[in-house]
Symmetry: D2
Subunit: 446 residues, 4 copies
């Protein structure tokens, strides 16, 4: 990331002229809370990453802070808002929906709020999905359920049909909660809206249980995922210790980035091997993974392995690349592959082996958020409302350097965050696991 | 079960002549608690199952009650005890180990207690597994960990070598915690001991997460398994509701009996189909399962299916029967099979489908026991000690009609308990799921 | 309990002539499931409690089994049903409500189901509480929430006004979920109905987190309470170990019976002293509790004490007896009392002390049920419906000797179950805690 | 905070000349990970807080980054290390102990690690507390237990005796985990060491479940506390909804800062009133709290109140200030006080009231850390080791602007962090609760 070149300007639909109703609702002291667009958060705080030490604070790149504005663009008594959730499940979706609805309804007094069903499909007439009316009653208690009350779906839809629908429904603000593919779609929707010269704000809330979105230091649901994945590791550890030459193999989410696998490994510090997409593994070599596993089993009689779903893709033939409905590269299943290779290796050596394979993915992503993710989702949702009501558009709500900020979609959509093989997280994993460096020589991929 | 023919006599090693040390340790009032062998529990309480209504209480078959005896057989200052855990993991193993150790050590003042490592393997010299000294220190806190601190293993071992080891170690009481195969092995060990005319008590504690052991109304760990499996169902339900035509398919444990699948279905009452081994399924017929699933999806757009691992074996070729190391019939994977068949069915009908397959088995069996299972395991372990110290042998500790009882191994080993298709449990599942009767005509298997 | 004298006859409103709709809904095989009134469950299974061993099965007292009847009394298309929950919160109330509603609606096709708000208050016009329409939609997801969606209240109401309301509303079946006081009220309501010669069935479901209702071997919510109380004990144990001379003192529910305190003590086996209402404590004597605690602290530097709320009432002046709105004797707070006495004792001895007092009661009773309680509540609710639809009345649904049975209100209302000081539960507590016999000489109270 | 004036210089014991053993242990690539003292993290990232926009990056105040140094001061084969935990329990203490031990033992190959028992008391001969040998075996599994295996204590000890003990034991690095009082003590110990010209490093790890330590953006255990406190709120909410005019009153930790109360209120968004120490409450006034509560009850029939333990101290007579053993101001119990005042208020108005008071404090602080706190504690512990081994002293390990940093004790000890009444957290609480501004006029205290 070269912060100097990051676009940090936020698009707006026009001048915000209406006084925010928040002023009345929470008393005189509130005025101090309104955030001006001049309040910003430095993007870079690690001084070694700032090349030119003589640049001034004024010239350092920074993001606009999120929060309520004193003047808003939309008339609360007339604006219609819509919410949609796209892609895979993630703990916290219902918290975000609830938070957007409660903020719009109670604080801004917006009464027309619609839930678009099943992600982008919900905009397309041929699917025939119904709308959902959203109000405090319909979102009561949903934070205790996993999933999303709106439903979701994968896959691209015709952007022009989506915007037709927004026009037809007379939507003023569309809140889109989704991952990589959704953020690209939301950017294209915002561009189509610009082209048609409509006054529709598109506010994105980045969702990724892999925690791999660029310029988003933490994504909602990740905390919960670590919590639950840790229990799977405990189970694998118990299974591995209970049998002679026991091996527990856990596959965790992480298509391109190993944050979940690496972080979970640090929670109980019971894992002995962690394999992540960022580093190509040497499987069969003298200092390779299988040989390392064999040594561990000889010495300690049991081992726990965490593998991120995107790891080891170097072992699959690149000619066969396939893509799923959302346009994501279809990964070959590294968990199944590793299980076979480990069993083969030990059979060849005539060694006893008791391997247990655990894939908790669907049990993790379908859970309700834990308390911390609930708090986080609540704040993201409220800031999304503040941004939309102020007429800002084509932006994401992100948490960055301990602050909630606005990020232009142009700066983030389509880019990824990776585990740095020389950074604190991965080096701590190496310390905690004691795993040897059996990786394919050459620089890591990132 | 014909209770009239159940063997209910408990073998003993000889006359119990020593006064129990429990008298001193807990004061005068304790004496009232000692259980005589004459105190018994009726086996049959449902009157319609007693054919001859004119039989008297005296003549009704009954089990001996478990509990401390006033006179014991073994001298606490000299007896050596051993514990072994065999077969698959199950919540509560560590609670039982701890309970046996604490009762022996604190109440009977027995100081020589050994843990046999890795199940029956631990008796066989060639494996070279070490012994574990057991005392209050070494079992402190283990109830909060899943698995078993002793380790386990599958598979038969030479019974004569096992008894050689018991003789060599001068063991007086062997506590064996294990499932079906283990109970058969423990019966054979007891018989070999009789043949050699040794004074070694074999006390079995039945373990089965499937809850399918004959004459055991509830097996430890089952409660915990239901708790956790219920969370997997919630996840599947959330996944299924979140996508158009969403299907959540969960495979649960249950090789021959569907107790876990059926009971879990009743907890949240979110499942729409439950498939258990006791009933052969009609998959493809007009009123078969796939057709029923299709109708449900057409009407409600989502469905949750629970399948016990032993269900639907009628779809696998019986010629290929294979057995695992413990001598259990190797089941073909019904979960994977069903997933394929469902996907094929909907593809043929050109219907959209979003199927999520969840197999939480290893995450369930490796957990620590919940509080209720802990209490239960504690009582089972203490009663196992009381039985062993009193010189009783070749028996199981069981919970039956709300009492802890002694069951002769002859009466239970090798027999199974099944879900009754006309009984309350299964009929309640039918009511809760509303599932149609798409089963293969003909009588159920049991 | 003298089982010979227990009333076991169930009242009915009249002949059940209508064919149960359950026959149609779940297919031909269902007919086998219908339960006849002749199917019974022996009350007494412990042979030593049956004085006359020559009595025959036919003559032994037994309860009628619960379950669906082939002929029912009420016409499902016309009958109106009501549900009310009374007294203190207990995990599982919402499960029972949901289960009654789902069974009535889906299986019996009863569409008029009403929730009475705030317990008995809901019948009395002057309170002005609204009714709640109950149907599958209104009970969806409530099993994941604690409390009761109907609300509750304490205190007696004019029985005649309650029956007026039932008449006015034209209710056919009233399901009453409540504790001791409620069951007495429900019996009086049933008697008033008889006196007025009305055709209204009163079906009680006994609720008591203390697990102390006569002829109810396990009450719903107790499992969950043990689970959660166990966590409080862990906390108290950690606090006590962390400080020199640390004492963790936990007050648990148990007004007249110490089941919760005793059972919880067996889960982790970390408690050193358990005080229950059934046994009067000697506090100050040479072998009394405070002296025992001092010895423990001297030897081990920490201690955990569990006290049931009704314990030690012998230390409060009996002249000041007060009663709460439900007519329950107001207990003086033994937790606060003990805390003071312990602090005083150690101050007098000039000993350091770090006492932490924990009262988790409201955090326990307000929780959702765990999976096992959910299953249990589901079955209780369904059997309540079966009983009511069959025209049975003035009965409780109970779990007894591993079966669901009908108990006449006359046999149970107003009577209590106690922990037997010579029984397995309490003796196991003595073994697990190692606590000395510092109780007041003389026979225990029960 | 005026960041320009914050001391950011870290004390060292002398030149670090020894090559870190980390180089060998994790392979060639590791060298890139070593952190130089020049790598720093800007203290201030919100641009509006930087007064002079023309200052350059070079001149902006920044903290030294934590992490492994290429050269270390202590010889791993000779250095002796000690760990002590002081003050109240907090989730994560055992994780930190374990992490320090594993890092020292496995990565730095330090074999002499001692646990000081019961906080500062452990240094003082007259208490006679034993030492604890720490190694991977003795810390195995402790992360799953709450509390601290070392024990803790409150209260100041003679600093000179503490340093005598360190000298006598020949300790090189002392890791002190503790709160406000402990950090002040650790600073005094470091100063005494300087005065005696000893080579002993003092590394502090700030502990506070109130999350109120200056320059520490998040303290360990807080996450877990929010998780669990949220359950207490759910319970209170269920209790309040279940009874006519139900009020749930929960007291949470927070002596001087309301972070826990405020954050927990945002998780479920079920609370209606949040009272924190930062704002003096008007209790009796026309727009005061009691009047606001009455209005809420009239309109909605139930209310949930969260009160931080340090709130409302303006209602207690300041003349009676008392201090506890740690020198903390003894707070009067606002929970009990509020309960009384609410009951009185409603009695005066002749309004029905069902108030449930919940104080979960000891159940929260004695828990094991959740997964995220475990990860956090692990990283804090490892960085503490890196700092100590490099010969740095008189510093705290802190998390600041998304980085782990070194903070001089001079900059933080004795200072507190407060909830900003105009900041995002509190304003979000106002939005989520809808609570009126019934606070005492005049500026907030902070």
């Amino acid at each position: 990331m070269n912060p100097d070149q990051i676009c940090t300007d936020i698009h707006t639909l026009g001048e915000a002229k209406i006084s925010s109703p928040l002023i009345k609702s929470t008393g005189a002291r509130f005025s101090k809370r309104f955030i001006t667009d001049q309040r910003r958060v430095l993007i870079q705080t690690e001084t070694e990453k700032v090349m030119d030490k003589s640049i001034t604070v004024e010239d350092m790149p920074s993001f606009e802070r999120a929060g309520p504005r004193e003047k808003i663009f939309f008339d609360p008594s007339k604006v219609k808002c819509a919410i949609t959730t796209c892609g895979g499940l993630c703990p916290g979706l219902n918290d975000i929906i609830r938070s957007i609805v409660l903020e719009l309804y109670h604080c801004y007094k917006v009464k027309n709020i619609y839930g678009i069903r099943y992600g982008l499909e919900g905009f397309i007439p041929e699917y025939g999905h119904d709308l959902m009316d959203l109000n405090p009653g319909s979102v009561s208690g949903i934070q205790d359920m996993g999933g999303t009350i709106l439903g979701s779906s994968r896959g691209a839809q015709d952007i022009s049909l989506v915007v037709d629908c927004l026009e037809r429904m007379n939507i003023g603000i569309l809140f889109m909660v989704g991952g990589d593919g959704t953020l690209i779609a939301s950017k294209m929707i915002a561009e189509e809206i610009e082209a048609r010269n409509l006054k529709i704000s598109i506010v994105g809330i980045p969702k990724t249980i892999d925690n791999d979105i660029h310029l988003v230091s933490k994504s909602f649901g990740f905390d919960t995922a670590v919590d639950v994945a840790t229990n799977a590791i405990k189970g694998a550890h118990n299974e591995s210790e209970a049998y002679p030459n026991g091996v527990g193999l856990i596959k965790l989410m992480g298509r391109h980035s190993g944050f979940l696998a690496a972080t979970t490994a640090l929670a109980q510090q019971d894992a002995n091997f962690v394999l992540i997409p960022e580093i190509d593994i040497d499987l069969y070599g003298e200092n390779g993974f299988l040989s390392g596993l064999e040594k561990r089993i000889m010495q300690r009689k049991h081992a726990v392995i965490i593998v991120a779903e995107g790891a080891g893709q170097n072992y699959f033939d690149s000619r066969e690349k396939e893509y799923d409905a959302s346009g994501n590269l279809k990964l070959r299943d590294i968990g199944i592959f590793l299980r076979e290779k480990i069993i083969e290796w030990f059979e060849q050596k005539n060694m006893q082996l008791s391997l247990k394979y655990i894939d908790p993915s669907y049990m993790i992503r379908s859970l309700p958020a834990n308390a911390n993710d609930s708090v986080f989702c609540g704040l993201l949702g409220r800031d999304a409302v503040h941004a939309g009501m102020a007429g800002k558009t084509k932006l994401l709500i992100s948490f960055w350097n301990n602050n909630y900020v606005h990020i232009p979609m142009d700066a983030s959509a389509g880019m990824r965050k990776y585990v740095d093989p020389n950074g604190k997280l991965w080096q701590s994993v190496l310390e905690a696991t004691g795993q040897q460096d059996f990786f394919i020589p050459g620089e890591p991929k990132t």
